[in-house]
C-alpha cells in the first residue's frame, strides 16, 4: 500500500492503495466517482475513458502510480452544470439507449474535439471507433459529435 495525491476534477484527493491499482478503481471504489465505467478492463471498449491532462485515456489500464501530478477529469467534472457542448449535443441528438457506455463516449468526443475542433466525418469515425456501444447507437454518436463540433 502506498499513499497517492491525485488531482481529480480540480480537487485534491489522497488515497491509500496498492500502486498497481488502476485509476478506474480508485475513482469508482475510493473516490465514489462512478460515472467512469468498468466494462472490459483491458483497454478495448472505452467505457472507462477519462482525460489525463486533456488526453483521452483508458483508466482501466492506467496504474494510479503513473498519474502523478497530472490533472484527471472524469465525466462528473467535464462541466459544472452538465452543459459542455458535447453533453448538450448528446442531449439534443438523444443518443443513449442503455446509457452505460455514454460517459466514456462523451469523454472521448470532448477530448477529440478539443484537439480537432473542425473534424471531417472520417476523423470523427476514427476517433470514436475506440469506444464500443453494445446497443448500437453509433449513428447517433456520429451525429452528436458533428453537432458538438458545429456548436463549439
Amino acid at each position: 500500500m502506498a499513499s497517492f495525491n491525485l488531482k481529480v476534477n480540480g480537487k485534491s484527493f489522497q488515497v491509500e492503495v496498492d500502486d498497481d491499482t488502476p485509476l478506474l478503481w480508485v475513482l469508482r471504489d475510493h473516490l465514489g466517482l462512478v460515472g467512469t465505467k468498468f466494462s472490459c478492463g483491458i483497454a478495448q471498449c472505452g467505457a472507462c475513458t477519462v482525460h489525463i491532462n486533456g488526453n483521452p485515456t483508458f483508466s482501466c489500464v492506467t496504474p494510479v502510480s503513473s498519474v502523478g501530478n497530472s490533472e484527471v477529469t472524469t465525466i462528473e467534472g467535464l462541466s459544472e452544470n452538465g452543459d459542455h457542448p458535447v453533453q448538450e449535443a448528446w442531449k439534443e441528438v438523444d443518443v443513449a439507449q442503455c446509457g452505460y457506455c455514454q460517459g466514456g463516449q462523451i469523454m472521448q468526443a470532448a477530448a477529440f474535439l478539443k484537439q480537432n475542433p473542425n473534424p471531417s466525418m472520417e476523423e470523427i469515425d476514427n476517433a470514436m471507433n475506440r469506444n464500443i456501444c453494445r446497443c448500437g447507437t453509433y449513428h447517433k454518436i456520429r451525429e452528436a459529435v458533428a453537432l458538438a463540433a458545429k456548436n463549439m
Binding site: 469508482r28 462512478v34 483491458i42 438523444d94 464500443i132 448500437g136 453509433y138
Partner: protein, 720 residues
C-alpha cells in the same frame, strides 16, 4: 355527472387523497377488464391496508409523477410508458417526472423486460389510467366552477372553460378530484388527436446519464458494504480441491467463501479481488460431459443425420411432394454460441438480515430474483425486497438470476451486505449463452418453380424448439415438415435478443433466396408469390398476419428501389417476430472491384409508433446488433471453457463497421406491438443475400468473416 358516482363491479383503479392533498391514481393490473374506482382514505394509503398502486400522482402544484414498473435496459420503456399516460391525461410533458418503481407483485402483473411485450401488454391500461385521471380533474373543475363538464377543455396540463373564461392547472383541482368516485369506463382519445404519442420525446434519464450520476447497479454503494468476485467452474466440471492461500494473502481481501460449485473472494474494494481471483488454485474434475467445439461439430452431424426429432408441424404429403418434384434444393446453415455481453457486467447487491433479504441491482426479472433469494434462504418471498436499478444493457442475460444467487449466498456466509461484480471474463465464461444451432432446409419445386414441399430440421444445443413452426413460409406450402432435435449440453443457454429467430431468420431468408435464384425468380417476387398463396388459400394454421407481411415486403422493395439500379447489388429479407413485421434490403456497390456495404433500408410495421426516436433507436440498434454478430462474433469452446474471454478476441461491431441505415414505419392502424427485438432477425439474411448478389458466395455459417467463402472478400463498409 352520474357516471362518476355509479357503483362498479370490480377493482381496477383507486384514488386517494393524502395529507399533502394530491391526487393519487393507481390501477390493479389483475383486474383491468372491468374497472372500478374507489376512494381510499389517507390512513388506508399510508398504512397500505389495501393494495394501492401509486402509478400516477398529481401534486397541488400541478407536478405529475408517473411510476414506470418495467426494468429499463435501453428499450426506452421508462420514457414511452409515461408518454402514453400523459397523452390521455393531456399533461404538460415538462411537468411530468418519471420514477422507477420497485418490485411489487401486488401492483404489477408483468414487471419484467423480455419478449418485446411491455407495450402491447400495457397500452390499454396506461391509456385508461391517464384518461381516468383527466376525467376526475374535469369533473372536479365542473363542480367547482358550476359549469357542465362537457364544455371543459384540457390542454397541456391546463383545464379551461371558455364560456366563463375560467382556467387553472391540474394542481388546483386535485383536492376536489380526490374526493370523487371514478367512472366505470372512460372515453379514450381518438388517435388522430394524440399530441405526445408519436412525437420524439427525449430519454427521461438523459441528464443523469450524460453527467455520470450513479444510475446503474454497478454504481450502487452503501456504507459498510463488502465487494465480492466469484470463480465459477468450467462447464461440466466440479471443484475437487481449493488452495486459496495466495488469494487470501492479497491486501484488501478479507475472506474466501465457497458455496455450491463456486469460490468467492471478498474484500473492501474491487481491484484486490480481481488480483486475488487469479491466484485461486482450484482443481476441477468432470461432473458431466466436458465439451469442446469439435465435440459439438460431431454431435451436430450425428443428430442432423439420425437424432430423434420432435415433429412441430406437418402439412400434406411431404414424401410424395419430394418424389414428384422437378427440382430439389437443400442447404445447411449453422450459428455459434454467443454471449449477451451487455456493457455493464453482471452485478447485484444483497443484504441478508436474518429472515429478511434486501436486493438491489440490474435485473430483467425482479420477481425471479426475489423468488430465488427466498428459496435459497428458506424464507417467504414477501420477506425479500427488490430495488431495480437502470440496466447497462441486458439482451436476455439478466432474465437469469444466477448472479443474484451468488450475492445472496455470499451475504449470508459473511453476514454482511455485499455487492458481487463480474469481470468481462466472467461474463464471457459464465454461461447462459445464445445456443448454437444448425438447420437443414429442403425445398421441392415443380416445373413452374413453385414450392410444393418444404422441410426444416433444426438441431440445437439446449435450444428448446429451434423452429417457429407457424411462421412464414408455413401456410404458403402444401406439403411441409418442421422438426426439431435437442441436445442436452453441459453448456448453459438462455434467451438472447430475439430468441431462436435471431438465427433462424437469417438461415431461412438466405435459403429462400437460394431457392428463388435456383428457379430463376426474383427473390421479392418469389416471397410475394408465397404470401399470395398464404393469403388466398392458406394451408393450416398461420402464426402471422399475411397482409401486414406483404405490406412491409412491398414497401421495402419500393423504398430501397429494389432491382432498379444494376450497379447496386441487393439482398432482401423479411421476418415476423414479437408481433411485429420487418423487411430489410442491404445495398452493396462494387467500388474498384471491392464490394462496399453502403446501406440497409428497413421497413417496420410495429403498429402505432409511440416514440419515433425510441423506435428508430430500436430498429437501428437491432440491425447493428444483428449485423455485428452475423459478421464478426464467435464463441468457441475447449474443455468446457470459451476460448474468447474478452473484447480482444470476442469481437463486437464498432462504429466504423456500420453502414447507413434508413428506417421507415408503416402505420397499419394497429395498437403498438413489440420493437426491442423484431429488427434484429432479418439483418443477417439481407446482408448475406446482398453478398451473394455481389460476389456469388453463399454464406451459410456465422460469423461471416471466419468462413472460407468470405476469406478473399474484402467487404468495405461505407457511409454517406
Amino acid at each position: 355527472m352520474k357516471t362518476i358516482t355509479r357503483e362498479s363491479r370490480r377493482d381496477f383503479l383507486k384514488i386517494a387523497s393524502t395529507t399533502a392533498g394530491g391526487l393519487f391514481i393507481g390501477f390493479n393490473w389483475f383486474s383491468c377488464d372491468s374497472p372500478k374506482m374507489e376512494v381510499l382514505s389517507t390512513e388506508e394509503v399510508l398504512s397500505q391496508a389495501k393494495p394501492f398502486n401509486a402509478y400516477l400522482s398529481i401534486s397541488p402544484s400541478g407536478d405529475v409523477v408517473i411510476y414506470s414498473p418495467n426494468p429499463e435496459l435501453g428499450q426506452n420503456i421508462k420514457t414511452s410508458f409515461p408518454m402514453v399516460v400523459a397523452e390521455e391525461l393531456d399533461a404538460d410533458w415538462g411537468k411530468v417526472r418519471v420514477l422507477q418503481a420497485n418490485l411489487d407483485t401486488e401492483k404489477y402483473d408483468r414487471q419484467l423486460t423480455g419478449g418485446s411485450g411491455a407495450m402491447p401488454h400495457s397500452w390499454e391500461r396506461l391509456r385508461k389510467a391517464g384518461a381516468t385521471a383527466k376525467y376526475l380533474l374535469v369533473a372536479a373543475a365542473a363542480k367547482m366552477w358550476n359549469v357542465p363538464a362537457e364544455e371543459i377543455t384540457v390542454e397541456n396540463g391546463i383545464i379551461s372553460h371558455s364560456g366563463s373564461k375560467k382556467s387553472g392547472h391540474f394542481g388546483e383541482f386535485v383536492a376536489e378530484a380526490a374526493q370523487m368516485q371514478a367512472p366505470e369506463d372512460v372515453q379514450l382519445k381518438d388517435k388522430k388527436d394524440f399530441k405526445i404519442i408519436g412525437t420524439p420525446i427525449k430519454n427521461v434519464d438523459a441528464d443523469e446519464i450524460y453527467t455520470g450520476k450513479p444510475l446503474f447497479g454497478l454504481d450502487f454503494y452503501r456504507e459498510g458494504m463488502m465487494h465480492a468476485m466469484v470463480q465459477r467452474p468450467p462447464f461440466g466440471m466440479k471443484i475437487k480441491s481449493i488452495d486459496d492461500a495466495a488469494a487470501r494473502a492479497v491486501t484488501g481481501v478479507s475472506d474466501v467463501v465457497q458455496f455450491e460449485n463456486s469460490v468467492a473472494v471478498v474484500g473492501n474494494s474491487t481491484w484486490p479481488l480481481l488480483k486475488a481471483k487469479k491466484l485461486l488454485k482450484i482443481e476441477y474434475e468432470a461432473e458431466s460431459t466436458v465439451e469442446s467445439t469439435a465435440d459439438h461439430d460431431r454431435i451436430f452431424k450425428e443428430l442432423m443425420a439420425n437424432g430423434k426429432s420432435e415433429v412441430k408441424r406437418q402439412d400434406g404429403d411431404i414424401k410424395s411432394a419430394f418424389q414428384k418434384a422437378s427440382k430439389i434444393v437443400t442447404a445447411e446453415y449453422q450459428c455459434p454460441f454467443l454471449a449477451h455481453s451487455p456493457m455493464e457486467p453482471e452485478n447485484f447487491f444483497a443484504h441478508v438480515k436474518g429472515d429478511r433479504c434486501e436486493l438491489i441491482g440490474p435485473t430483467q426479472t425482479p420477481d425471479r430474483a426475489r423468488q430465488t433469494a427466498a428459496s435459497i434462504l428458506g424464507i417467504p418471498a414477501e420477506n425479500v425486497t427488490v430495488e431495480i436499478t437502470r440496466l447497462g444493457g441486458g439482451f436476455g442475460r439478466r432474465l437469469r438470476a444466477d448472479y443474484v444467487e451468488e450475492a445472496v449466498h455470499i451475504s449470508k456466509a459473511i453476514n454482511a451486505p455485499v455487492k458481487v461484480t463480474w469481470s468481462r471474463e466472467d461474463e464471457l465464461t459464465g454461461g447462459a449463452y445464445r445456443p448454437a444451432v444448425r438447420y437443414r432446409f429442403e425445398a421441392a419445386l415443380d416445373e413452374n418453380g413453385s414450392m410444393i414441399g418444404y422441410k426444416l430440421r433444426g438441431v440445437g444445443m439446449n435450444a428448446g424448439n429451434t423452429t417457429r413452426e407457424h411462421n412464414f413460409p408455413s401456410g404458403a406450402v402444401d406439403n411441409l415438415l418442421i422438426e426439431t432435435v435437442n441436445y442436452g449440453s453441459s453448456i448453459t443457454t438462455n434467451a438472447w435478443r430475439a430468441p431462436i429467430t435471431n438465427f433462424l431468420a437469417y438461415a431461412e431468408q438466405s435459403f429462400l433466396d437460394e431457392v428463388a435464384l435456383e428457379v430463376g425468380k426474383d427473390p421479392v417476387a418469389f416471397r410475394l408469390e408465397l404470401l399470395d398463396r398464404a393469403k388466398n388459400n392458406p394451408v393450416g394454421q398461420l402464426g402471422y398476419d399475411v397482409d401486414r407481411m406483404i405490406g412491409v415486403v412491398k414497401t421495402a422493395a419500393e423504398k430501397a428501389n429494389w432491382g432498379k439500379n444494376p450497379d447496386v447489388k441487393q439482398g432482401f429479407s423479411v421476418y415476423f417476430s414479437h408481433r411485429s413485421y420487418v423487411a430489410q434490403v442491404a445495398d452493396i456497390e462494387m467500388q474498384g472491384g471491392t464490394p462496399a456495404l453502403k446501406k440497409i433500408t428497413a421497413v417496420t410495421d410495429c403498429g402505432m409508433v409511440v416514440n419515433p426516436t425510441g423506435a428508430n433507436h430500436q430498429v437501428r440498434g437491432g440491425i447493428v446488433d444483428g449485423m455485428g454478430h452475423a459478421m464478426y462474433t464467435n464463441l468457441t469452446f475447449e474443455n468446457g471453457l470459451p476460448k474468447q474471454r474478452n473484447y480482444d478476441s470476442y469481437r463486437l461491431i464498432r462504429l466504423k463497421e456500420v453502414p447507413e441505415i434508413e428506417t421507415h414505419f408503416i402505420d397499419s392502424g394497429y395498437d403498438p406491438t413489440g420493437l426491442g427485438e423484431p429488427a434484429l432477425p432479418p439483418t443477417g439474411g439481407a446482408i448475406a443475400n446482398a453478398i451473394f448478389a455481389a460476389t456469388g458466395r453463399r454464406l451459410r455459417s456465422q460469423p461471416f468473416i471466419e468462413q472460407k467463402e468470405f476469406s478473399d472478400i474484402k467487404l468495405e463498409i461505407r457511409r454517406s
